[in-house]
Amino acid sequence: MIRLLRYLSNKQSFLIFVFLELIAFILTIKTHDYAQLKLHNFQIEFAGAVNNTIHTVEKHFYLKSYNKKLLKQNAKLLEQLQHKIPDITTLPASIPDQYTYIPAFVISNQCSLQHNTLLINKGEIDGIQPDSGVLSTNGIIGVVQKTSKHYAKVISILNKNLKINVALKHSNYSGFLQWSGKDPNSFEVIDLPVNAPIEIGDTIITGGMSGIFSKGIPIGRITGYQLVHGQKSYEIHIKSFTDMTSLGPVYIIKNRFKSEIDSLKYNR
């Protein structure tokens, strides 16, 4: 301890130099929008690079399960093609060419917090933009929040700040999906009108009104419901189809007309 103090007292001016430079840098970055953006991009790039390295090693252990998932999805798609079922449940296409899908991999996934995020290994150079939806092979998993050159940060559906427009599959009554903050597979649908016909076991799908997700992507099954807000709306409990604790290959869904829709929505 005495040695350490002696060493530090010898390096006193260097420590003061570092300390003062740090303060000056923080002040500079705080007042500099571009610097903040650069710092933020650096953070995403750094976290992405670290997690990508871990993921490169890790993915070899999960290849079997990823393959299984993809084979299952392929089988489902083939079945739908053969029977020409109009209602494609895995990757719906509401208007031809309106939505395009970019494949990616989840390289970092949080589940233990109240405001969870995840990182995917695709970024600006792959055409990823903020506010794009992210799907797994089983359903939705989040919305792109920020992008760097090679990576993107996604707000997970396990984030209490995220609300997604959803609907009842058989009746089209819509509400908002939000995470309860407890079990990673349990969600709530709020603001569903009281006249909506609800049955336990019914499927909840995306409503498609936000323009982030196309309509009809399955989310989960109803496990229970109750009347709230003075019996004016339903609160539904659902169990999601996606296991948020085990994510691998995902798709980023891009809506070609999103900016057009948003400009009509928000510009009066």
Partner: protein, 168 residues
């Protein structure tokens, strides 16, 4: 007049000059001389280094507050003040006792080189912190060089006033 009082006066004069005059100069439309670092360049290395660093930080911060530049000038002033010791330690004939170096006693050519190095460092740092892009700093080397020459001319002029060889 004791050195300390003289030095504080020089510091205040250069701070005010930088804020009210030099910061508003746009020579050939976009060159702004940086002269506020002069007091830190002429400080003898024997004086308390920590105190010098704090003085540099506060001076830079005042300019930053006035110019709304965050901490760009503070970072530059602290950097310049600290790097002086390293400059002399790394110079061709390193002096055994760094505390013995007195800027007022080094010859004219050495002094011009010394001022030139630190003024260019200051301009590079200010430009880098302002643009936050190292690539842009390299592409703007010409503009940094011209800025350095202009600042150097002003600083040599001030140095002749404060360290007039005829007075020695």
């Amino acid at each position: 007049m004791s050195f300390r009082i003289k030095y504080i006066l020089i510091l205040l004069v250069f701070l005010i000059l930088q804020i009210i005059w030099f910061n508003h100069i746009r020579l050939f439309n976009h060159f702004t001389p940086i002269v506020f670092i002069y007091p830190f360049l002429i400080l003898p290395l024997s004086k308390s280094e920590s105190l010098n660093l704090f003085a540099a930080f506060v001076t830079g911060l005042i300019i930053d507050l006035v110019s709304n530049t965050g901490g760009i000038f503070a970072a530059t002033a602290v950097f310049i003040t600290y790097m002086r010791k390293i400059y002399f330690m790394a110079s061709k004939n390193p002096v055994q006792k760094i505390q013995e170096i007195n800027i007022g006693k080094i010859n004219s050519l050495q002094k011009i080189i010394y001022f030139g190095v630190f003024i260019s460092l200051a301009h590079i740092m200010i430009f880098f912190l302002d643009a936050f892009n190292a690539g842009l700093v390299i592409s703007k080397l010409q503009s940094i060089l011209i800025n350095t020459i202009i600042s150097l001319i002003f600083i040599i002029f001030f140095d002749l006033i404060f360290f007039n060889p005829a007075k020695k």
